[in-house]
Amino acid sequence: MISKDEQVRAAIAEQASEWLVANDDGPLEARDSAALAAWLKASPVHVEEFLGVSVIARDLREARSDPEYSLETVLARARAEDDTPIQPFWRRVIGPVRGISSRRWLTAAATMAAVVVLSLGLFSLWNVRPIAQVSAPGATTALHFETRHGEQLSRRLPDNSVLHLNTDSAVTIRFGKTERLVTLTSGQADFEVAHDPEHAFRVFAGSAEVVAIGTKFDVRLEGDSTVVTVVEGRVAVGPSPLLKKLGPQSSQNHPPRFVQLGADQQIRVAADEWPATPAAVDAQRTTAWLHRQIVFDQEPLERVAAEFNRYAPKPIEIATPALRNLQISGVFATDDPEAFIAFLRSLTGVRVEVTATRIRVSQDQA
């Protein structure tokens, strides 16, 4: 049994961990900083435990070359935890005693195994090693890119892929031993993926996951959904395993984990809906932003305004509800709102007022 002293020390270790994490997440506020200094000055045991916890963090940092600690391995296991149905507590303790419940449990386990085989099968189809079988040390390099409102950015990445980032967007890219792991946290990005079957290019964006090998595609976060458009080649799109529990609900009609998309196809993945169906689109239109253009073909003014507002320094506001459905067609420059204002002014019955903070569009009474 552990002694009272050890219990006290364990509690101090706990406090030390809390302080370390608080301090680790950016500079402490003056008040917290004073509280931490006071806590450290309160006892040599506090100092020892804080240093002890710090050394654990240091040892973890130095474990970078150990494959057990690779990004792919820890993430794969964390995701596996998500996919495992939680067993009721009593079952864990007393085990399956009655025949019926144990048989039901076995069926569930078998279904789960089938799902795992299915997804592994898909991965091998894509000539990608399943993420759990990582053996090489995972020295990972990470790159982070962000754009502000109205800003765009293009970069060639170390693997020769090209990243285009649209307005108000953020993306992190990690090059692991077996994967190129991309997280789009906001906005829209276009990827020209350099062909490399040894390193799958996986994009996690909101509700969706996209797996590609060498292709060109566009990913956009739109509210709760993620829109993926393929310009060239093929990609596989599925619901994001990071947000959704992919447990086996119905054993018979389990939807496929991934849907394949070819050039000029687009899919919208909503947070709780899967499978989704790809639709035919003109991918050049979706990626017109690469040339600082937006293309509209008979689209309601409301949507056009929302699209413009992604780039414009002053938002467009539709004051007359009836105008929201006004159909607009045309090609406009994202960085030239003046041209769009001039276009709106040319429409009959439309009035445009430019104020210091906004562009107000209303019905012309005259």
Binding site: I2, E6, Q7, R9, A10, A13, E14, A16, S17, E18, L20, V21, N23, D24, D25, P27, A30, S33, A34, L36, A37, L40, K41, S43, P44, V45, V47, E48, E49, F50, L51, G52, V53, S54, V55, I56, A57, R58, D59, L60, R61, A63, R64, E68, Y69, L71, V74, L75, R77, A78, E81, D82, T140, A142, T172, T183, T185, F204, L242, L243
Partner: protein, 159 residues
């Protein structure tokens, strides 16, 4: 210069790994922390703590070698100060410690383990960890706190 420092650190790490050192060191660090003014300590307590601890380790090493000078204490980032610290968890050597940390980490639930490894091994932000694990940033911090506390207790065999 960098090579020189690397060699020194290797030497220190080997040198300071004796049983009695860690609590003694903590005690000495504590006494020095008491001596400094509150204003100084409050500005960046953690940086101060690491600097004091690191300087002490270096002083001990110098005394042991009966060398009076030759150590430059530069403005290294806070985590570099950590490199010379002993582990405060008994008499394990580096290899044993790495092996034990591996075992101790396996005792955590996978998400908790992922969070602490993503934070310190891969240096992801709490926001990024939250995205990868499908939890809130607060939850990500909670996982990391739990994991650190668990590792520390088990490494120091506090039950």
């Amino acid at each position: 210069m960098a090579e020189h420092r690397g060699a020194l650190q290797t030497f220190f790490r080997r040198r300071i790994r004796s049983k009695a050192d860690a609590p003694d060191l903590a005690q000495e660090v504590y006494v020095r922390m008491l001596r400094i003014s509150d204003q100084e300590a409050i500005r960046n307590p953690v940086h101060y703590l690491y600097t004091v601890a690191n300087n002490l380790v270096k002083e001990h090493a110098v005394l042991d070698r009966r060398q009076a000078s030759g150590i430059d204490i530069d403005e290294a980032p806070a985590h570099e100060h950590l490199e010379t610290l002993p582990a405060f968890d008994g008499d394990l050597d580096a290899t044993q410690r790495v092996a034990r940390l591996g075992v101790v980490l396996q005792q955590l639930r996978p998400k908790c383990r992922a969070a602490v490894v993503l934070r310190f091994t891969h240096e992801l932000s709490y926001r990024e960890i939250a995205i990868h694990l499908g939890v809130s940033p607060q939850m990500a911090k909670k996982y990391v706190t739990q994991a650190l506390g668990h590792c520390r207790r088990r490494m120091a065999r506090l039950g």
